[in-house]
């Protein structure tokens, strides 16, 4: 069973056997494709922070 922000649906996990209860998974047409890597979930914010810092360095600080 996978909870989609409140709605629960049966999902086939045959291709994501490593998924544990409590994990986030990417689901497409009732089929799990990938387990979401929690350690990478912040990467999009981290990249922006690094870019901002890089820019501050170039411009000689804030």
């Amino acid at each position: 069973m996978v909870d989609f922000g409140g709605i629960q649906k049966e999902v086939n996990l045959a291709c994501v056997p490593e998924a544990q209860v409590g994990d986030y998974v990417i689901v497409h047409v009732g089929f799990a494709l990938s387990r979401v890597e929690e350690s990478e979930a912040n990467a999009v914010f981290e990249y922006l922070r690094q870019m901002d810092e890089l820019l501050e360095l170039k411009e000689g600080g804030p």
């Binding site: 922000g5 291709c15 089929f31 890597e37 999009v44 922006l48």
Partner: protein, 375 residues
Amino acid sequence: MKYLDEYRDGAKARAYARQIGRATTRPWAIMEVCGGQTHAIVKFGIDELLPQFITLIHGPGCPVCVTPLEYIDKAIEIAARPGTIFCSFGDMLRVPGSATDLLAVKAGGGDVRMVYSPLDAVKLATQNPSWEVVFFAVGFETTAPATAMAAYQAAERGVKNFSMLVTHVLAPPAMEALLASPECRVQGFLAAGHVCAVMGCAEYEPMAAKYRVPIVVTGFEPLDILQGVLMCVRQLEEGRAEVENQYARAVRRGGNQHAQELIRRVFEVVPRKWRGLGEIPASGLRLRSHYEAWDAEKKFGLAGHDTAENPECRSGLVLQGRIKPAECPAFGTRCSPEHPLGAPMVSSEGACAAYYRYRSRAPGGVADGGNMRKG
């Protein structure tokens, strides 16, 4: 829910747009491959947030849109057979065939049903043993594992009244066909994150090297897309042409090996005709001979259909990224989601439908914080 609204944060989106503005010194044209990305770009106004130097070209990544007309006609032919339950994803039902569409077959008494998953269609076949249940299997590598599992389950369980009309397509050969065209304007790609969740990133490496084109595997949320654009622009500005992975939270370099094995076991790679693009070598999947008892084309002896597209529909040019939907003379007048001339006006992932829905009325978007907050 954790990590959903955060990826739509308006302030961070504008911060990304500023970074993209600073990184850009000349015009660049970047194609997002996936229809889900196109939908998000138009819905959230991401293209309007970007510097004018950056053009986003909407790629052929809407599965419904690239399914050739002859397969729509085949689907209609099967659906109209007595004793048949024809199952499809919802947005295929309204795609016009050469004479009619699947909804019209349903209105005429045909049993045409919308299903959420191909596995539901197998279940339906088990529950209705005296009916032929046929599933219309369209989609990219993202959908192929579920379809493969449906064929596998039907074979394992001996569900003989189930079959599939398969018109699966593969993303990288279409990207390569666009790059090989002399009219190609694409200088960088945002590759489809969920395709890569299945197939991995490695298959793009030869393409990036051969055509000197950066390819950034990218997710579907606004911040994902903006980060993908920034990574792509930085490569272009620095003269690099590499495969990078923006969507590492869902995509591993090798993809999902279990899903790839399932696809390989059930399907073989064949040439496939794409709506708007023509035939592309090694760009489709069909059931292997071991599964031919579940192949609807073989089961119902469908002859080759030869069909001409509606000449008024410019979806071919839209799917190649050569015109924007609103540049088509029929857009919003003779062609609308209520009366579509072509598939891109039907599907939620189609560029024409996205423009119709989000651009025909109030302007605005991410720049004024409007669309971003609503999600």
